[in-house]
Amino acid sequence: MKDDNELVYEVIHGNMSSFEVLIDRYQKTILNMMLRMVSNFETAKDLTQDVFVKAFEKMGGFDFRFRFFSWIYRIAVNEAINWNRKNPMTESLGKIDPIDFGESETMAAEAKNNLLHRELRKMNADYRVLVLLKYYCGLSYEEITEATRIPVKKVRSRLFIAREQLRKGLIANGFFEND
């Protein structure tokens, strides 16, 4: 299996099928991150497409010293944060699109999921994005630093604040009841 940077090199040389492989690899994570950043499926879809279109346009300037995933996550993070700045949370939190768990999941699990989603949405976008990169995209602190250009120390302290805010918000809304 070719690594990301090899695929980028091939895209730059005009091989579109390599770009399709990159889309396959990252679209799911980016779409889901966007969904948790904007809480609207159509907007998340549009923003995800924007991320890949921008990535393609900027690929000629890709710096091969960096890893592709941190580069595309950075584009995604910027898109998401910019969108949040342009569209501050004015809608009722009740209007947030629930994430579909499928029929196998219990109602309680779905309720918990929506509660978690809502608490994440309440969080400042700069903090939320770090939680998403850490726990949804599975990046380490160093990788988050690479993707966001925020120093590791700051990532750690911001994540600390974000986690505490999330935990306390969930406690207040009865997330841990019956556990």
Binding site: Y9, V11, I12, H13, G14, M16, F19, E20, I23, D24, Q27, K28, T29, L31, N32, L35, F41, K45, T48, Q49, F52, V53, F56, E57, M59, G60, G61, F62, D63, F64, I99, D100, F101, G102, E105, A109, K112, N113, L116, H117, K134, Y135, Y136, R156, L159, F160, R163, E164, L166, R167, L170, I171, F175, F176, D179
Partner: protein, 265 residues
């Protein structure tokens, strides 16, 4: 780890790092011991573990739709005329995209443009210096004199003496250029109120050994024999309108007396 010395925040941070699998085995054992002795901390750890489980469940339930075709369609529409650059150009672009290179290039370009603009503004140095080509040692170029307002040009001539006194001024500076020629000793006095003016500079531009200029607080006296040139600069202390007197004496007899007004309203 000495938990006694740690703040609550540090302990919580350790718990998070333990849950994220970032601690060494020794540290893990210590934090596990600590959690078994501290129910509140254990509760926090359990709560965050539940949050992580919920997040993992969400990850498994990630929406999985294929946006590939839509993305490729948009790329074809939006970037058809701008395909990615070739790798050869890529290396060059990554070099030029470095901030240091950009700044350096901007600096060099700025200097270059500055030189061009400066050379346009200065137009012709030789031409600009032409009227004062014989004024050795002066650091006041004639451009500033040419740009000043003309107060008056006083002239005196008799068979033995010829004097031209060109007076110009700006708001703060008065510049007087004296061309004087005489066969015998002639005293030329430029007189003013010392409350209004201060002598900035007296330049002997082209002065022979027998001639000299003497400066006092309220006057400048030129003792002249032969052909000489002087440049005098006065500082107008209050930028108001004032008079400057010109007197010429031959054998201590006044032969000429006139007055020039600067900073005319």
């Amino acid at each position: 780890m000495d938990f006694l010395k740690m703040t609550e925040k540090e302990i919580i941070e350790k718990i998070y790092r333990n849950l994220d699998g970032e601690l060494t085995k020794a540290d893990q054992c210590e934090i596990e011991d600590y959690l078994s002795d501290h129910p509140e901390a254990a509760q926090l750890s359990k709560e965050w573990e539940l949050i992580k489980i919920q997040m993992n469940k969400e990850q498994k339930a990630f929406v999985d739709i294929d946006l590939k075709q839509e993305i490729l369609k948009r790329i074809n529409m939006e970037t058809y005329k701008q395909p990615p650059k070739t790798a050869g150009f890529l290396i060059v672009r990554s070099f030029w995209s470095r901030p240091a290179v950009r700044l350096g290039f901007s600096f060099v370009l700025g200097v270059f443009v500055g030189i061009i603009i400066f050379s346009f503004l200065k137009v012709d140095f030789k031409k600009a210096n032409a009227p004062t080509k014989d004024m050795k040692g002066t650091f006041y170029d004639s451009r500033s004199f040419d740009n000043m307002k003309v107060a008056d040009v006083l002239q005196y001539e008799d068979p033995l003496t010829k004097a031209v006194c060109n007076v110009r001024y700006s708001t703060k500076i008065v510049e007087i250029r004296v061309d004087i020629s005489s066969l015998n000793l002639v005293k030329s006095i430029i007189e003013f109120d010392y409350n209004d003016f201060k002598v900035l500079n007296v330049q002997n531009v082209s002065v022979n050994d027998q001639s000299s200029a003497v400066v006092a607080a309220n006057l400048i006296q030129i003792n002249n024999i032969g052909d000489n040139k002087f440049i005098i600069q006065l500082y107008n202390k209050n930028s108001l309108s004032h008079n400057i007197d010109f007197k010429i004496y031959q054998n201590d007899l006044s032969v000429y007396h006139n007055s020039v007004q600067v900073n005319k309203e």
